[in-house]
């Protein structure tokens, strides 16, 4: 019968968002009903009669439930919107950054065999790399964090998800910085040694390093 009372309360609260306040209220009223139910049994009522009396004593819950629904926050829409804006901007920034990484090879190619080969070309290239890396880092740093808008479990879950996400995000940041660094090292070493036929190995080493970092992150979790 207690299960039946619980089922009845679940039914009453079916349209209410299950946040902490509504769950506590439901639990509180249910405990009240269960107490009453047992008292009625002790008075000699049958199980059926005790259940019916307990349920009948609840009364009109509309006002109470309306009070719970009312406090739905309007600010969440706003937050989602902010996230959307960031996503759009993020796509643009990443595209530009990638384009810059590719184009950074242009100055050395175009300026080879000219008198700018040894100073202006590398300088331009590093400037492009710097801008691209800066863009990527700025992009991830401006990502809006999910702020909890109310007490609901869904929100708590989202927040928790965000926190585990923070790990992944840190990894991504390190990874993008790593690759920028690898490109710089590759080009530096190549210009320095002119061993272009072998310096590409640096990229393989980069892949290995990224793998190791990833493994470290996984282990830490």
């Amino acid at each position: 019968m207690e299960d039946k009372l619980r089922a009845y309360m679940d039914h009453l609260f079916r349209d209410v968002k299950p946040d902490r306040r509504s769950i506590e209220l439901k639990e509180e009223i249910l405990q009240n009903l269960v107490d009453k139910y047992h008292d009625l049994l002790a008075e000699g009522k049958t199980q059926e009669a005790a259940y019916n009396i307990a349920v009948a004593s609840i009364g009109d819950m509309d006002e109470l439930l309306a009070g719970l629904k009312q406090e739905l926050p309007a600010s969440r829409v706003y937050d989602d919107e902010r996230m959307q804006v960031w996503r759009r901007k993020s796509a643009l920034r990443i595209s530009v950054a990638v384009a810059l990484y590719i184009m950074c090879l242009l100055p050395p190619i175009l300026l080879s065999d000219t008198r700018f080969e040894n100073n202006l070309a590398p300088a331009l290239m590093f400037t492009l790399i710097g801008i691209a890396t800066g863009l990527l880092i700025y992009n991830y740093m401006t990502k809006p964090y999910y702020q909890r808008m109310d007490d609901s479990i869904v929100e708590e879950f989202k927040e928790w998800q965000q926190q585990t996400d923070a790990n992944r995000r840190a990894f991504r940041a390190i990874s993008s910085a790593l690759w920028a660094l690898i490109v710089v090292i590759y080009i530096l070493v190549s210009f320095w040694t002119f061993a272009w036929h072998i310096t590409w190995v640096i990229f393989l080493i980069g892949v290995a390093i990224e793998g190791i970092i990833k493994a470290v992150f996984e282990l830490k979790r």
């Binding site: 509180e28 009223i29 009240n32 009453k36 004593s57 819950m61 509309d62 109470l64």
Partner: protein, 118 residues
Amino acid sequence: MSIASDLIRGHTDTIILAHLMREDSYGYKINKDIQLKTDNKYELKEATLYTAFRRLEGAGYICSYWGNENTGARRRYYTISLEGRQAYFKMKEEWDEAKELIDILIQSGEEKEEQNGR
């Protein structure tokens, strides 16, 4: 009885505060005390009771905490705040005043004469 319960319902807040003046309590116990005191003539609906709790909490007159019973039942206890005590005295004073006025106003002429003649 229905007029009486309507009248009483208008004072749910005062009744709850009055119970909490004595000791911290939870919903069912307050309702049961009401039943006992009124000799089963009056009982609050759960909906009325918990709406009143939320209202009083919102006004800062009462605070709640979860008790830890050993029996496994988890009850939310309410305790009255200083503001709640002040509100209680004010409400009671208002009721006493209203009661006096209503007594005067609803007396019919006959009763008055009766009283005068006594």
